[in-house]
Symmetry: C2
Subunit: 348 residues, 2 copies
Amino acid sequence: MANNNHIVIMAGGIGSRLWPVSTPECPKQFIDVTGSGRSLIQMTVDRFLPVAPMENFWVVTGARYVQQVREQLPQIPESHILAEPEGRNTAPCIAYACRKVAKVAPSANVVVTPSDALVVDTKLFTSVIGKALEAVNGSGKIVTIGIKPTRPETGYGYICAESLEQEQVVKVSEFREKPDLETAKSYLAAGNFFWNAGIFVWNVATINAQLQKYAPQITGVMDKIEPFLFTPQEDAALREHFCECEKISIDYAVMEKSPDIYVIACEPQWSDLGTWVAVKEHIIPDADGNCVVGDARLFDCKNCIVHVPAGGQIVLQGLRDSIVALKNGRLLICQLSEDQAIKEMSKF
Amino acid sequence: MANNNHIVIMAGGIGSRLWPVSTPECPKQFIDVTGSGRSLIQMTVDRFLPVAPMENFWVVTGARYVQQVREQLPQIPESHILAEPEGRNTAPCIAYACRKVAKVAPSANVVVTPSDALVVDTKLFTSVIGKALEAVNGSGKIVTIGIKPTRPETGYGYICAESLEQEQVVKVSEFREKPDLETAKSYLAAGNFFWNAGIFVWNVATINAQLQKYAPQITGVMDKIEPFLFTPQEDAALREHFCECEKISIDYAVMEKSPDIYVIACEPQWSDLGTWVAVKEHIIPDADGNCVVGDARLFDCKNCIVHVPAGGQIVLQGLRDSIVALKNGRLLICQLSEDQAIKEMSKF
């Protein structure tokens, strides 16, 4: 039964707010952001190993990252590392991956997940994923994972559930865009609004049928590529046609249109590690509240996040509430309060 | 006449308070500290070119720096780049260099100078050096250059002159060690105390005779090396004997003992660039008081000194009164007020 579970890891993104540690050449998912010894994509694989064997893992990434995926995840079959010729958002990415999964495992139950988030309570997470996989097995259900909000976050989309109940499969009443602060506060108070973590569980036949129904343009492109899947011509066909796909997220393309979507809400201490402030929350601080990844000497520093190379010679003195990040000669020094501006400030 | 002037540049030091830009591998004198486009040793040569031709320049440095001297000063004859097997302070350094100068130019008038200081008013400086050279020509005088103090500096030695007169050769009454703050204030008020910039002017016969008289131990060692000067055996003789020299400064060894020392005081806007704060004073600030060498993007930063590689990607936000220095993956961030602690903090 477990062998029918497949994991599709989407690894095409660029965490530009973690500059300069995350850069287009080596984005966030390939980095040991928290100093755990494992990159985020490696931790993502670790997290799903209890539900699927390594030969059922798939990674969809940009062509330039294929080598990094191979190096970091040598146990994943090479033919399961899919290279998008260009990023067209999540709907084409998922459509392509699920066509391939369907070809080798037509009745597969699939988890689609981002590669660059952190989950602290992996035991709870595994149990929730197990329930979702059960729910979609032999059914046409689509199940998303909703994260119980811990703050009125305006940076995420929300899933509105028909019930407050956690760790149970319940009906989604609607998906909501990133809210303003007032709206986010009302969501938090209501209790049946959950963060959309971008994790989806479905039977492969379900998603392919739903794409056919709600995203026929993308399905049409995939039909052109289909005859070449797993042949030497696949890459050429992909290069020729993939860019024809509408650039659209799976949320817009399917989730917000399909009437039969479910959510399992849970609180597994999830983080998208989207900003340095978010990263800081997941590193054990020293007595002065400094969270240090790498080697640095701190003198009279308080409440800083420091991400520097291991074995480097780094001396920091007199910093307060700051971000210090150094990689390959690129340097960021910034107040924690300005971490949302890093993306703009670092556009070189 | 000008051809009888020789310039001996002492370039064996390590500016450890300018870490990480100045390091034992590439100390301060070989660095473009102020962003002028020239290293300090190159600027030192430039400053003395009006008084002596390039073939009369000599550089005494550590063996590990010979290659850097050659690269930065290709016009200096290779045989004039002298490699000390180890640093034994300035008296042995000067004794060795002046033996060599005497061998090729027995009546040379010599200027001995550090390689890592800055002089802004080079015209005044050249005029003062010219006067000193005149004063020592055919006389047994030793002339030092005294810098008129602009603050009660406790980091320098002082020269007490018998007169307040500037830009004239006057008698030294005594040399004084680095004073405490109260004493430094009284020196500043007195008007006849000048900073000892470590610049000495003498006829080569004079210094060799004075060394014989006041530093016979060092002279004895030089006598052993003398037969091998300018022969293929010189380096071996130097390696065998140089380390026997007493480790002592020329100030202690000769200046403080000899009764016939003169000073020319002047105010050529001299700086030893001994600290980042001192460096900051010699870089033109932007509208927010930031002095930047290299390429960095500053957002809401005020009164900082920034020394980073050219063409790097550096983003600095929210800094006040800070030092940021980056070189070869080594990083310093420090309050300006703590710049005296850098030497200690950066002992790796």
